[in-house]
């Protein structure tokens, strides 16, 4: 979709995520800082999209706008046919680089926390949380506290917590960036398995090119100063993905292409 073209109601209804002409400016006057300018794209139902770009390109800001945590300065965002004006936890699950688990709650209690906020009964909460902990491979760690879990396990708890309200859209802001490479790769694969099972729509922010290609159906490459989308790339790899694909020629070519895109806008 070319930028600046007015979205019709039909477009908004058809696509799961619609971002149209979104800009974000911090401050005002001469000190105004433009973080994002004229960002437009769509993500269809069940699509796995990654946003990749250099640091400072506003990809985290964009994700926060999608999540309804930060208002856009201009343009519109619609998810599932409705304008985003604030957080909608029943439709959107959000994950950050840090799990932000509450340290006085066990893994299971952390997964239940979104349900606590909605005053769901304790027995019902437990019934919904435990299968999710099992899904992320932490069934035997349900009663452990966050400081007893590794970084990867904490992010698994965060994934389970995201899924507990059965959202149709997952927004993930560099969720595995703080993990070591092996754990990151394994978590990526697990995320793909979970996504294939649950069939939601995912927008995944990362600065890792390999991760961005490996996970995605569509890669949105972002440029910096001001933050904007410079290219939309459909990933030609088949599913399910396997580690071997990373070494393939087409993967390498794609990776190089994105690398050059980012390097060009940087200089």
């Amino acid at each position: 979709m070319p930028s600046g073209v007015q979205m019709t109601a039909e477009d908004i209804a058809r696509e799961t995520i619609v971002v149209d002409g979104v800009g974000k400016t911090y401050g005002g006057g001469t000190h105004a800082l433009t973080a994002l300018t004229d960002v437009s794209f769509t993500v269809r139902e069940g699509e796995f999209a990654t946003l990749v770009g250099p640091s400072g390109c506003g990809k985290s800001t964009l994700l926060q706008i999608l999540a309804g945590l930060v208002p856009a300065s201009s343009g519109l965002v619609a998810i599932d046919g409705r304008m985003v004006t604030g957080p909608s936890p029943d439709k959107i699950g959000v994950m950050f680089q840090d799990a932000w688990l509450l340290p006085w709650k066990t893994a299971a209690e952390n997964v239940e926390f979104p349900l606590v906020l909605r005053k769901v009964k304790p027995a019902e909460r437990r019934k919904r949380a435990l299968p999710l902990l099992e899904l992320v491979g932490l069934a035997s760690f349900a009663d452990r506290y966050p400081d007893e879990l590794s970084g990867g396990m904490r992010q698994r708890v965060a994934i389970a917590r995201c899924l507990v309200q059965e959202p149709r859209v997952l927004l993930m802001d560099e969720p595995f960036a703080a993990l070591d490479e092996q754990t990151r790769t394994r978590m990526g694969n697990e995320l793909l398995q979970i996504w294939e099972k649950s069939g939601g729509t995912v927008v995944f922010v990362t600065h890792g090119l390999t991760e961005a290609i490996y996970l995605a159906d569509t890669v949105f490459v972002m440029g910096t100063r001001p933050g904007r989308i410079i290219e939309r790339i459909a990933v030609p790899l088949s599913r399910p993905r396997s580690i071997d694909m990373i070494g393939s020629e087409s993967f390498g070519r794609l990776r190089n292409h994105i690398w050059h895109l980012i390097a060009e806008v940087r200089t």
């Binding site: 926060q64 999540a67 945590l69 957080p87 909608s88 936890p89 029943d90 959107i92 959000v94 950050f96 840090d98 932000w100 509450l102 340290p103 006085w104 709650k105 209690e109 239940e112 926390f113 979104p114 606590v116 906020l117 909605r118 005053k119 304790p122 917590r161 309200q165």
Partner: protein, 253 residues
């Protein structure tokens, strides 16, 4: 070592210390006016026990009132200041400065305003203890990473839920350390103000008998003041444990 055995050893050590003190006094090694003795303290109990019991009650009530006011107002101010950056910037240096100021210079003014009765002690106690409570609460709340609040907002928490179910438990350790410091200062403030100018209370009777060289009574007063401090500390630990359990169970409606 088991708990009872440790207790037993502690008691034995205390008994030995007291016997040593009494023996030194009997042998004329210690001046009775300066050092007193366990037997002089026992005699003070038989002579002035009821006066001291009454004074103890007064002091405990003054401290309890001061604690209630200083805790509530201090935590409230700290929490509000932490959420208003402008207020926090202004109040942080003022609060730190007020903790360092020898507030006892205010006491004559307080007596002039409020008289020699309990209210001047309560107010002086509040003034002594409220600033570290407010400052620690403010710093504790400010020190919480914004990520927690953002995460909670993304999960659909409203501002009240973010405040009580996320921020308050996270700030609890800092708040409790402020309460520890503040409560100790309140106990000191109340007893000190009783010594400086009042008509009753443990501090008053300590300074009264000091003037008359009734060393036994002075020591009895000191023991009771220690007991008050111990009680305040025990009360604090109780509150702390209660809140930690509360925080752990906040999920239970």
């Amino acid at each position: 070592m088991t708990r009872t055995r440790r207790r037993l050893i502690q008691f034995a050590a205390l008994a030995a210390l007291l016997s040593l003190w009494e023996a030194a006094f009997r042998l004329g090694l210690l001046s009775p006016i300066i050092f007193g003795s366990p037997s002089l303290i026992v005699r003070a109990v038989t002579q002035d026990g009821w006066t001291f019991a009454h004074a103890f009650r007064i002091t405990v009530f003054e401290i309890a009132k001061a604690v209630l006011i200083a805790w509530t107002a201090g935590i409230l101010f700290g929490a509000v200041a932490a959420s208003l950056p402008a207020l926090a910037r202004v109040s942080a240096p003022i609060l730190s400065a007020l903790i360092a100021v020898p507030l006892v210079v205010l006491y004559p003014v307080l007596i002039a305003w409020l008289g020699l009765g309990p209210s001047s002690k309560v107010v002086f106690g509040v003034v002594s203890g409220i600033f570290p409570i407010a400052l620690n609460t403010m710093i504790g709340v400010q020190g919480i990473d914004r990520g927690y609040a953002q995460m909670a907002a993304a999960m659909g928490a409203n501002p009240r839920q973010i405040m009580f179910q996320v921020m308050a438990p996270l700030a609890l350790p800092a708040i409790v350390s402020g309460l520890r410091l503040g409560t100790a200062l309140i106990v000191i403030g109340v007893v000190l103000s009783e010594m400086l100018g009042s008509t009753d209370g443990i501090g008053f009777w300590i300074s009264y008998h000091r003037a008359l060289f009734n060393t036994g009574q002075v020591y009895l007063g000191i023991l009771l003041a220690l007991l008050v401090a111990g009680l305040a500390n025990a009360a604090l630990s109780l509150v702390e444990r209660f809140y930690v359990r509360q925080a752990a169970n906040l999920s239970v409606p």
